[in-house]
Point group: C2
Chain length 189, copies 2
Amino acid sequence: MTGYAARPILGAMDIFTAIEKRHSYRGPYKAGSVPRADLKKILLAAVRAPSGYNEQTTSFVAVDDSEKIRAISEILQQPRIADAPAVVVLCMDLSAKKRRDLYFGVEDYSAACENLLLAATALGYAAVWIDGSLRRDDRARRVAELLDVPDSFEVRVVVPLGVPEESWPQKEKKPPAERVFFNSFGSAG
Amino acid sequence: MTGYAARPILGAMDIFTAIEKRHSYRGPYKAGSVPRADLKKILLAAVRAPSGYNEQTTSFVAVDDSEKIRAISEILQQPRIADAPAVVVLCMDLSAKKRRDLYFGVEDYSAACENLLLAATALGYAAVWIDGSLRRDDRARRVAELLDVPDSFEVRVVVPLGVPEESWPQKEKKPPAERVFFNSFGSAG
């Protein structure tokens, strides 16, 4: 890379832009696969998230096998997922529960998922955090079975991603003044 | 800002650099306050995190009143916090539990906290996500009382932040190959 450092690097999106552009995308994807190099870059961002006691309870299965993606789509009963070129499945290590008095599995995968979504956004992909849908009808266990996830892990999030065919905005948020206060809850400072 | 868009903007750190530089900092801070403009930029990044059903269950109290910071330090029995120029307290809206069959309060504040930490990192601050310490000895409730947090919210995270006096690395992580798989848990692809 010598001599190229001063040039703009593809994917070098500034953090505030990535945060603003990230959105939950449930639309169609452009044809074509997600290169493994991009998937790895996204996953390396995810594993660097903080975790309680640095236990790193989140593991990731990146799925780019189209048959497995179709199977995940069927388990979740979400046809759109079948067209995603890649799906990342976040798995929570339950064994850490035994090692400490407190357990931060949910916090850990949530921070990791946010890193994953921001990194995907920076590389030009759109994605969506699918979570609640897994908690019905034994779906998490069926996805776990499909991907050989051991019993000591629980499948918690599925993130389909690809290059978006449509342009979607971030969902509308409450005015910051309703959620951000200074020195006292409810105070604008 | 016309005419300046092509120039590097202070704080425009690329997302992958921010993810790599973010670390849990428990060292001393340089003297001086955190400007409100920076705190607002950090908090605007935090409120843009995704949330289950877009319920936006996380609210934030940014504390830069030194007496209140000292009080938080005493409640948490962490003397170092007393020297932080700012502390952000993340509060989880419990009322959303009643509105839906699933509740994502922990996921919501965890994603928001990661945005907050990345934004702080990009602006040159160091911070740490303090969570478990709040869950002992009624400390979360005492912090809530100090900051007039209503009963419908629970204090979940305290993030002291400031310009670091010392250079700390990110905690060592497991090799990615132990946590990142392709198409099947345990498979390097």
